[in-house]
Subunit: 344 residues, 2 copies
């Protein structure tokens, strides 16, 4: 079980949240955050009397290369990171994935504390234990399931997030409403203005509710095997393909928003269509320059979840009524992609 | 739970043991076995109608480098290894560790089948889920717990094992008797001649009993955290240090035999000393050329199990009555090492 903390001003309180007789941790962040949030977090640990060396990953997907993680393993070796010392991952999903994979594999697994600083990571990726690195041409091909001991989402860190990253993160929040919780979806619709202004209480509410929904699903299907957890892949089958086809110029949340639109179209007529479309229309729409429908479809067959080369889609039978299916065929997908402006 | 099979002629029967609709697996072995057992196993899968590409690791510890595992990951990517396809590891502990780590991390974990071909791997390392690779200067520093779906020990493969490897492997068999099962220890003493001649029924019995004892402990403490599984480290604290100090010229089993002798001396007077010493005297004694006591002790403090730099020892209070302790100090260790012929 992961202890989850959501609120403002949690960064400075992290050492007291963690507790530890040994007062020894390795902090991991990226070069975009090292001088700002990284410095603040390191100071908080120093002030609390911890020995907490800081390792800085490169920013962006480069953090998730095998070479980056190998340097982090060397750092853990040289600084004497022992089996019960936590790795504290401060940053967005890339830091969480790379530092998480290092924690999952260092001495066959040491404690992990996720301190997400993007909306995407706070509302979604900090929980669930998925960690990964990329191989050339294969995102997240290598990884491990490693549940964090704690996830600490300080919504204060979202105030300075670039607008594009912030809006991209809203896609995962909307996903939780559409797939799992009709009341949450309706409330998101009502409080959208507060969320756009990044109001603290609204952020804590939206992040906290998303994480509660995720924790419920993860508890039922920790290893992503029963199909239950696959429901969270709503919008992700096509989303992953679009990210890949765009060489990751399209942000994850933007791609998921696009994938959710496509999934809704593939789902056929829905009773709550108006609310669903209104929420999706508020999410950013990615640039489709250079994207071809046939190429997208080929990528679908190579998805991790594909079985025998046939992709798995999550569709909706209604608001918060998801359906896992392998029956969608190439013609349907190409028609929907065309309707969304993708060239054949 | 791992399904365990021990006996003769199992290699050819592996495809029918595994069962699978998809009939798709990746076989992994090393360059020492590729042309012999590797070829036999690949033929068995081909004959059964499986698609089973074979990947060949370098022999020895090089198999456990990050570079070797990275090449294996690339192979899994290029051959289209999917989430439910098993990785079959054919070989000794190094193949099991490296292929096991690749299976543990490929797509965050795919099924693993251990087909151990050395006595060490058959009686000990094929069960328990420990997988690992080495960093320069840090053996097994990076790894994962990944329980195999099946462990298939064909004792026929032991007939051609080099004598030094075979005798080294007997150390782990003796360990199970000394630490966990007095009747097994007495029976090993009686059947030693059969074991030395590698008689099939005696081998199946000794391997099977060792694995049953190990499975019992692993079930109680899968992640090696409660202390229960640490009992299996009898002889290993000093053993690991000796392997490392000798630059791995001393074989694992030889080092463990040496570590068990040291642990028995550190344990003080024991009632069943005659039987214990007779068993230990039958095991190979490693070359101690160039080994210094102080250097060994320094390595102990860097052991994965060390807490706050203090090594954990497993001693005996009697036959099959192990005791975990952190109270052994440097002077005692150096005295015992001197008694065993190590220079200070």
């Amino acid at each position: 079980m992961t202890d989850v903390y959501v609120g403002s001003g949690l960064l400075e309180r992290l050492p007291s949240i963690l507790r530890s007789k040994r007062r020894r941790a390795t902090l991991v962040t990226d070069s975009a955050l090292a001088g700002t949030l990284g410095r603040r977090l390191a100071a908080a640990f120093r002030k609390a009397g911890w020995e907490a060396p800081l390792f800085v990953l490169p920013r962006g997907e480069t953090a998730k290369s095998l070479a980056s993680v190998a340097r982090l393993w060397d750092f853990l070796l040289k600084t004497g990171h022992e089996r019960r010392d936590p790795v504290v991952a401060l940053g967005g999903g890339t830091v969480g994935d790379a530092a998480g994979f290092a924690a999952a594999t260092w001495m066959r697994g040491v404690p992990l504390v996720q301190v997400p600083t993007t909306l995407l990571a706070q509302a979604d990726s900090c929980l669930g234990g998925k960690t990964a690195v990329n191989l050339p041409g294969a995102k997240n091909a290598v990884g491990a399931f490693h549940q964090p001991d704690a996830a600490v989402a300080d919504v204060g860190t979202l105030k300075t997030l670039p607008e594009r990253d912030y809006r991209s993160g809203l896609a995962e929040v909307v996903k939780y409403g559409l797939v799992l919780d009709a009341a949450f979806a309706r409330e998101l619709d009502r409080r959208w203005g507060l969320l756009e202004r990044r109001e603290s209480a609204a952020l804590s509410w939206a992040v906290g509710r998303s994480l509660r929904l995720k924790a419920g699903i993860v508890a039922e299907d920790e290893r992503d095997f029963s199909g239950r957890r696959e429901l969270l892949n709503f919008g992700h089958t096509l989303g992953h393909a679009l990210e890949s086809a765009s060489d990751y110029r399209v942000r994850h949340g933007e791609a998921v928003a696009f994938g959710m639109r496509a999934a809704v179209l593939l789902s056929g007529p829905l009773k709550e269509a108006a609310l669903i479309e209104r929420l999706l229309d508020r999410l950013p729409f990615p640039s489709l320059a250079g994207i071809r429908g046939k190429a997208l479809f080929r990528l679908l067959a190579r998805d991790k979840k594909a079985r025998g080369g046939v992709p798995v889609f999550v569709l909706l039978q209604g608001l918060a009524r998801p359906l896992r299916t392998q029956t969608v065929d190439e013609r349907q997908v190409l028609a929907v992609l065309a309707a969304l402006g993708v060239k054949p």
